[in-house]
Symmetry: D2
């Protein structure tokens, strides 16, 4: 289990006074980026040095409680399903009072950077997500 912490700023709040719903997907992606980086596979390295990319083909979120200015969120990341060419990443988001505020999920596929055809899961991806 990997945990990423982030804080909610002025511009992340919308006209209704709570965090704009789409922003949750940015925050969980920040958590994913950090998870990959601490496992020595930064997204910059993937983009510059690897022959595959990992685009998201599905995303979803359930919003449980409003998220407010100054809230400190903990995002727990867990990979829990692998296909031949894909993997699922699940996110559990709690606030500073340990209240569950949202759940989210993304599905990534592995495709060739050149041909955009599906590729088998790279060994480094399998290894990283087994560390969960």
């Amino acid at each position: 289990m990997f945990t990423y912490q982030t804080k909610i700023h002025m511009q992340e709040i919308d006209a209704a006074g709570v965090m704009f719903y789409a922003h949750l997907f940015t925050l969980i992606h920040d958590a994913y980026e950090e998870f990959m980086t601490v496992h020595n596979l930064s997204l910059r390295d993937i983009l510059e040095k690897k022959d595959y990319i990992l685009p998201i083909v599905h995303s979803e979120a359930d919003y449980k409680k409003p998220i407010r200015l100054g809230d400190i969120l903990e995002i727990q990341l867990e990979a829990n399903e692998f296909g031949a060419h894909s993997f699922d990443t699940q996110y559990t988001i709690v606030n500073q009072e340990k209240v569950l505020v949202a759940l989210a999920k993304t599905v990534h596929v592995v495709i060739s950077k050149q041909t955009h055809s599906p590729l088998p899961l790279p060994s480094e991806i399998k290894k990283i997500f087994a560390v969960k």
Copy 2:
């Protein structure tokens, strides 16, 4: 069926050279805002004058094709399910070549601005979405 058109700008593209996945949820919300406005129920009016709000409790998207700089997207909005206190809005997104690039959905609940308790669907919401 309501259609909203939007164009993809420099900052909506990410380091992988395609539109950042979270941004889709911003674009469909822009379509929803415009849909409400043309039916004389702008989000500003709801926030300032109504006793209810319409927070999103679930969102999801399927990404079919990469979205690129300068693409002109058409977002078709359709409401297709109503609960006692909620409604679903579905979005079909095609690009300038009429290729399907994404599908998305949001679920809104109706709650009291004061108590945050569920409220029955307001008549103006029923009316607007019946126009589909």
Copy 3:
């Protein structure tokens, strides 16, 4: 004089209930993108086909009035100074009541895509901005 129209959405409003100040720079850049596109020099074309790029080296803005949810802004773009390797673009932003809400300016330089060295202003840039 080129005019671009845009509308202020939910997520562009911040916790203080007005448009977040940084967002003004996104809106004027959208106006710049559209200006270039209508003159047949889209930013995508520049990035894909030209040997130069036009990075911004300076930006500034004066905020005159709060910008609110649902406001419809008109952004007037005018180029008004050229250096050997640079040009200035000025933006005047008024709302739906023709009230001046902001002024802004960006300075672009012309550099080689390969070497990043300064280049003389391309003839197509000179031509486009002379149309002011």
Copy 4:
């Protein structure tokens, strides 16, 4: 002198492969929020409990070097001029190699939350910025 550290994510990079210029103003505002918070005057407290607000009336930035995916920026904040009703905040931004990548400045005014008239600088603001 206050220093804030931040990392550049996928979505902060634009179609030209570098950080979108407007985003710098978001990052320096994040630094300002954190600066205020560590001095026990969070923006949430100001919005909820104080009779004044501190809107930005001017902003500017000079971009010295491209900012790239995964860069770790240090933002140094310094207040260096006070008017009767305003204060200037200056930002120096360096990357992980200690290279200066940008300079920025914002001017804040103090106005009444109710009347929007200018107010003298609150004592807590004077105190916080004297700590520089």
